[in-house]
């Protein structure tokens, strides 16, 4: 468990723990993530015992020193390792003092989001090593047994060790970061729209994803995709108070009480977008942030600038090489607002030909049919949508819409 000793502020604590881990990795090699993390964990225990009332002047330095000692002990006691001598030689190397905290946190993020790991392992490892969540907390997020999560993390660390801690050479700067951005985005969307819908949204996980995105943005203030991702998260998070009803059902954007949106988060998100768009090459996160900003500006669904939103979805399809059918579905929702429901239904049918099981497609069709007053077809589409969802909060919403439709016809 990563719990701050009584003498230390929780925020500072969560900042220095991953930094200490990154320092160790830098010194002893990225393939040592398993032993290094054990060493930091044991240094934390020591801090709990020894800092009772008063923290040292430089908590990070204390922690790094204690963790290094622990690491050396761990390596020395690890007789089974074949390359023990080689690593003991490494221990005598001078300490690496030239790295900045920014480089350290970036390195750690990239390592945890190593492209060779499955996405679930990337997220679990990031939550563990960078966000400082305990295995029990991560298990709670995913409603999985703690031992299962512990094994996933262990397996991920072992995989990184097998790969020698080597990160693949990126083709460009964007690719270098894309895996990190995707992991943070998955973490956030999982929080905002949990897979199972129970709970419908996970505020702690969302806060964690935003905290990490803020750190990344502080490290790379010029990167417009990082700025875009942070803005997207803030603008989406702003809607949280209005997104789930008292009966635990998801409330769609057009039905939300916008007075309940968080104005502070919206202002911050919009400012980030405005700063990032100037002269930027549009990337997927920045474009999505622009769309979210337009929704945030509108007092209700009807007065939203749908023409501009439609143009942005078309741009988003281009920058993502038309590979993501969910973006096409969202574009069709915007088309319904600009060109009308009949036009949009025709586009939905085309999309369904290629992606018959696309999530939310039946729900969008049902809404369009309902707006056109084609009740029987709408009911059939709602039925299909309830069968397709795996999210119980969304299932509740669709059921309520279906029942309302049946009661009014």
């Amino acid at each position: 468990m990563t719990v701050a000793p009584p003498a230390v502020d929780e925020g500072l604590w969560r900042e220095i723990v991953p930094q200490a881990l990154a320092r160790l990795l830098r010194t002893y090699g990225r393939d040592q993530i398993d032993l290094c993390e054990d060493a930091v964990q044991e240094a934390l225990l020591a801090a709990h015992q020894q800092w009772a009332g008063q923290a040292p002047a430089d908590p990070l330095a204390w922690l790094v020193t204690a963790a290094r000692r622990r690491y050396i002990d761990l390596v020395r006691s690890d007789h089974r390792r074949r390359d023990r001598e080689a690593r003991e030689a490494l221990l005598t190397l001078p300490l690496n003092g030239g790295s900045s905290a920014v480089d350290d946190s970036l390195l750690l993020l990239q390592l945890c989001c190593h492209p060779a790991l499955p996405r679930s392992a990337q997220v679990a490892l990031t939550l563990r090593a960078v966000a400082g969540l305990s295995t029990a907390q991560i298990a709670n997020v995913y409603q999985l047994p703690e031992a299962t999560v512990a094994r996933r993390i262990t397996r991920a660390k072992r995989r990184i060790a097998e790969l020698g801690g080597v990160l693949p050479r990126p083709r460009d700067d964007r690719e270098r970061l894309s895996s990190v951005l995707d992991v943070l985005y998955v973490m956030f969307t999982e929080a905002h729209h949990t897979t199972t819908g129970e709970p419908a949204q996970d505020a702690d996980l969302a806060a964690e994803a935003i905290r990490l995105a803020r750190q990344l943005h502080a490290a790379l203030p010029q990167d417009t995709e990082v700025g875009g991702l942070l803005a997207l998260m803030l603008l989406t998070e702003a809607r949280r108070p209005a997104r789930v009803g008292a009966d635990n059902r998801l409330i769609p954007l057009d039905e939300q009480d916008r007075r309940r949106w968080d104005a502070t988060l919206i202002a911050e998100g919009r400012a980030l977008v405005e700063r990032a768009v100037v002269g930027a090459t549009p990337g997927p996160y920045l474009v999505q942030a622009c769309i979210a900003a337009l929704h945030a500006e509108a007092p209700d669904a009807a007065s939203t600038d749908w023409t501009e939103i439609l143009a942005l979805y078309r741009l988003l399809e281009i920058v993502t090489d038309h590979r993501n059918p969910t973006i096409a579905l969202n574009r069709i929702v915007a088309e319904a607002m600009v060109y009308g429901e009949e036009y949009a239904l025709a586009r939905i049918d085309e999309l369904a030909d290629h992606h018959p099981h696309l999530p939310r497609l039946a729900a969008v069709r049902a809404h369009l049919l309902e707006r056109l007053g084609r009740s029987d077809e709408a009911a059939a589409a709602y039925r299909q949508a309830t069968k397709q969802t795996r999210n119980i909060a969304e299932w509740r919403h669709l059921h309520i819409r279906l029942r309302r439709l049946l009661n009014t016809t």
Binding site: Q388, R390, R396, L402, R403, L406
Partner: protein, 122 residues
């Protein structure tokens, strides 16, 4: 003694529920979970997605083959289950009657004794 309480669901019944009944079901299940957790009788519960999302794996000429869909198309299907550990059969029947589905015409619960368990790391 361990039992599973299997919840039989009829989608036509579900879509005809009033909002009042729907709320009663939601709150009833939440209360049931809280009560059986508190008493130490609840081991696990899961709600299952619609059977149209099922895949079936079965042997064809001794080789596993994957097909879409449930075993058989049926009006009713397994919507989810509770796994409980209780003193005796009388208690599991008492518990089952507390589940809101037991008070709604067209829904039903099936209670079956468990013969073998391995709960993994649960």
């Amino acid at each position: 003694m361990k039992y599973v309480i299997l919840m039989q669901v009829d989608p036509e019944v579900l879509e005809r529920l009033t909002e009042e009944q729907q709320r009663m079901i939601e709150e009833g299940h939440a209360a049931f979970m809280a009560k059986t957790k508190e008493s130490g009788e609840l081991i696990a519960t899961q709600a299952l997605a619609d059977p149209s999302q099922s895949k079936v794996v079965r042997a064809r000429n001794g080789v596993p083959e994957v097909t879409d869909g449930p075993f058989a198309e049926a009006k009713e299907f397994l919507g989810g289950f509770y796994l409980v550990d209780v003193e005796n059969e009388a208690r599991v029947l008492e518990l089952a009657q507390m589940i809101p589905d037991a008070s709604i015409d067209g829904l039903a619960l099936e209670i079956r004794p468990v013969m073998f368990s391995d709960l993994g790391d649960l």
